[in-house]
Symmetry: C2
Subunit: 407 residues, 2 copies
C-alpha cells in the first residue's frame, strides 16, 4: 500500500477505489464506531492515507502525531484532542487487520462493503457529522438502504408483552404495505416482531426490513433469532459498521442505535421500560431532528413506562398504528382523523338555539310551540324556524300542530 501525500489523497481515491474500500474495511476493524479523532483523521487525509499514517505511527508515534495534527490543521480541523491517546488505542489492533479476508468473507455471504465514495451511500448518514460510519458492511439480495423518507425504525423492549408484539406486528406490516421499510435491531421482542411483521407484508419493489446489527454479519446474534436473521439476509438487508467476526458489545449496541435513528425519518418506540436501550435510539433520533413516535399502553405495564415517559417529556408523538406513523413521516394522503372518525352524530353542526330546541322536544307526547319557548328558553320566532330545520333533518315531527322528537 502506498502512502499518498496529503495533497493528492482525494484525487487518488477515484482511480484507487479498491484501495479506498480496502482501507475503510481495515479502518472499521481498527476504530470503534464514533471514534471521533479517527473519523476526523479519515475525513482530513482520506482513508488510504489515514491508514498508512496510523501504520507508520506504530513505530514513531511522536513524529506521526505531529504529522497528523498538521494534516488535520490543513483541512481546517483544529488540533484534535486525544490524538496521542487514539494512536495508543489503535496500535494494539494493527496486527489483526486483514481487510482482504474480511471483504472476501462478506462477499462469500452474498454481501459487500458500501463506502461513502459509493453512489449507494445513504445520504441520511451525513447528519451524523463526524460520527458518520467509516463504511457499512451489508448483506441482502439487494443490499441497498432506501432513502430516509422511506425508512421507519420500529424498536422496543426485548422482553415485550403480547400487547407490544401485536401492535408491532400490525404496525410493521401496515408500514410495508404503505411502501415503507421497517428498520430495527434484530433483537428479541419488539425488534424481532417488527422484522417479522414487515416480512409478512413483503411486496415487489420495497425492501421490507433492515436489521442493523451491533456485531459482525457473519454470525446471527442473538442465536434464538437465527432463522429470522437468515430470512432477513435473504429477503431484506442486514447492515453493520463493524467487520465480520466482531462481537456485539454494550458500547457497540449503543452506537448501533444511532445508526438506526440516522437511517430513518421516524423512530417508533413500541414498548420500553423506564430505562431502556430503545430510549437511546429515540434520543438519537431526536438529536438528529428526526421524528419520534411512542405507542401508548397500560399505565400498569412496566413495558410501557418508557413510552409514557417519552410522551410526557414531549420527546415523542403518540402513535397508535401504521397510519399515525405514516402521517408522522409526512406521507401524503394519510389522514388519521379521516380514518378513525366515526359517522357524525345527528346533532353535529346544529346551532346552539336548535340544540336547545332539540333538547326541549319531548320524546313521546307532542307539545305546543308556546311550551317549547318556555322549556327551551327561546322566542317563538326561533322555535318556529328551528322546528322547520329540525323537521328537515328528520329530528322533529309534528302532529295536529304539536311537536315531538322524530321516532
Amino acid at each position: 500500500m502506498t502512502v499518498n501525500t496529503p495533497h493528492d489523497v482525494h484525487g487518488a481515491v477515484q482511480p484507487a477505489a479498491t484501495d479506498a474500500r480496502t482501507a475503510r474495511a481495515a479502518l472499521t476493524r481498527l476504530m470503534e464506531p464514533s471514534d471521533l479523532p479517527g473519523m476526523a483523521l479519515v475525513r482530513a487525509a482520506g482513508p488510504v492515507e489515514a491508514l498508512a499514517l496510523i501504520r507508520s505511527a506504530a513505530s514513531s508515534s511522536a513524529t506521526m502525531e505531529r504529522e497528523m495534527t498538521a494534516i488535520l490543521a490543513a483541512s481546517g480541523v483544529p488540533r484534535w484532542p486525544g490524538l496521542a491517546d487514539a494512536l495508543t488505542r489503535w496500535r494494539p489492533r494493527l496486527a489483526d487487520l486483514a481487510p482482504e479476508r474480511d471483504l472476501a468473507m462478506i462477499h462469500r455471504l452474498g454481501g459487500g462493503l458500501v463506502i461513502p465514495e459509493d453512489a449507494a451511500w445513504p445520504a441520511a448518514l451525513a447528519d451524523l457529522e463526524l460520527a458518520e460510519p467509516l463504511a457499512l458492511w451489508m448483506r441482502g439480495t439487494t443490499p441497498v438502504i432506501p432513502g430516509q423518507q422511506r425508512c421507519i425504525a420500529v424498536v422496543g423492549s426485548r422482553d415485550s408483552t403480547s400487547y407490544g408484539a401485536n401492535v408491532t406486528g400490525e404496525m410493521a406490516a401496515g408500514l410495508v404495505q404503505r411502501g415503507f421499510t421497517v428498520v430495527s435491531g434484530g433483537a428479541y421482542g419488539i425488534d424481532a416482531q417488527a422484522h417479522r411483521g414487515a416480512l409478512s407484508a413483503a411486496q415487489a419493489g420495497v425492501v421490507p426490513t433492515i436489521a442493523v446489527m451491533a456485531g459482525g454479519l457473519d454470525r446471527y446474534y442473538p442465536s434464538g433469532n437465527e432463522d429470522l436473521l437468515r430470512t432477513i439476509a435473504a429477503g431484506g438487508v442486514m447492515v453493520a459498521e463493524v467487520p465480520p467476526g466482531t462481537n456485539p458489545t454494550r458500547y457497540r449496541f449503543l452506537q448501533r442505535n444511532r445508526l438506526i435513528a440516522a437511517f430513518c425519518a421516524v423512530t417508533v418506540v413500541v414498548e420500553a421500560r423506564w430505562r431502556s436501550g430503545s430510549l437511546s435510539t429515540a434520543h438519537h433520533a431526536d438529536a438528529l431532528s428526526r421524528s419520534v413516535g411512542a405507542v401508548p399502553g397500560s399505565v400498569y405495564s412496566a413495558n410501557s413506562a418508557g413510552c409514557h415517559r417519552l410522551l410526557r417529556e414531549g420527546s415523542a408523538v403518540c402513535v397508535t398504528d401504521a397510519a399515525d406513523v405514516a402521517e408522522l413521516a409526512g406521507a401524503p394522503g394519510t389522514n388519521v382523523t379521516a380514518e378513525v372518525e366515526g359517522p357524525p352524530a345527528v346533532h353535529d353542526g346544529l346551532s346552539v338555539e336548535d340544540l336547545l330546541l332539540l333538547d326541549a322536544l319531548p320524546l313521546r307526547s307532542a307539545t305546543t310551540v308556546e311550551k317549547l319557548c318556555t322549556v327551551a328558553g327561546l322566542g317563538a320566532v326561533a322555535v318556529l324556524a328551528g322546528l322547520g330545520r329540525l323537521e328537515l333533518l328528520g329530528l322533529a315531527q309534528r302532529s295536529n300542530g304539536a311537536w315531538k322528537r322524530a321516532d
Copy 2:
C-alpha cells in the same frame, strides 16, 4: 321589587344582598347557562335592576330594548347583538319565576345559593369572562369550592372499561391523599369512579370531591348514581348553575363541562372515545389556559382513542398516576422521575473508555492487559487506569496479574 336607576345599582347591592341573591336565583331560571346578552345585561345593570328591566320589557319590549342598550353602552359594552331576540327568549319564562321557592328548596336540602357578591365565590370563574355563571346552587356539609390550585377534574367515558375504572379510582384516591379535591360530573363510568375513589380517601380538612351537575340539585341524576350522589351531598359538594327542578339537557351538559374545567387547575381525561363529551371538558380547560392530562391505554381500546387523540394533537400531557397529575398541577415536592426511577445500572456514569473496557473484560478466564488493549481498542495507559476504576467499583477483579469481570 323596586327598579333602581342604573347609576345606583352597584351601591344598592350591599344593603340589598338578599335582593341580589333573590334576583340571581330568579335569573338562573330565566337564562340558560352562557346566555351572553343576559350575562352582559346583569354585569352592566346589576342583578336586581336587570331582572326588573326584563320584567318591564314583557309589556313594552321596544322601549325596554332601547333602555337596556343604553345601560350596556353606559357600562362600556357596545350594542349587544341579539338583545331583542334575548327578550323574546326570556319572556315566556317570566311567569315561572319563583326564586323564594327555589331558595327555600335548596335550604331544605341543606345547601344554599352562592353569588358573585359573596366572599366564597370561586375566583377561578372570572376566567370564564362573560360566560361566568350568574350564581352557584350548592349542596354539601361545607358547600365551598376550594381554590383552583387545589381542584383537579377527573372525567371520562360513561361506558368505561375495568382498566379505566381502576386507573381512575387509584388516581382520585391518590389526589385526595395529596390534599386535592377531585371534581367530576356525577355521571356513570369514569365520573362515578373518580368520586368514589376520592371519597374512599377522604380526610379531615380536604373537600374530597365535587359533583358539578347539569340539572337541578333536588334530584339525583342519573338515578343509578343516587346512592353515590347522596354520599357526595353529605361528604363532599354538589354544585349546579341551574336552579332546583331543572332538567339536565344536552346543552346544559355541554355548558356544565366548562364549569368543571374552570374550577380546576388540571383536567384529566382517563378514558374517552374518539368523539366524547369529556373531550369538550378538555377543550374548555385548554381554552382557559388550564393544564390537560390524558391517561394512555391500549391502542386496541376504543375507550382510549380520545385520550390518544388529545396526546397526539399535543392538547394534553401524558399522565399515568396521581403523582404525574400533582406535578402537572405544580404541586411542590412531587417529582415523578424520582418516584418511578429504579436503581441505577452499575455501568451508569462510566466513561466511554471504561465502558469499552468493561465490555472487553471476559466473564470467566482472566486475560492480560495487552489482550484487553486489542479487544477494547484502548491504549495500555487507558486500560490500566480503567481497570483500577472498575476494580474500585467492584466490576473487575484480578488474579495473578490477569483480569476478568468481577463475579
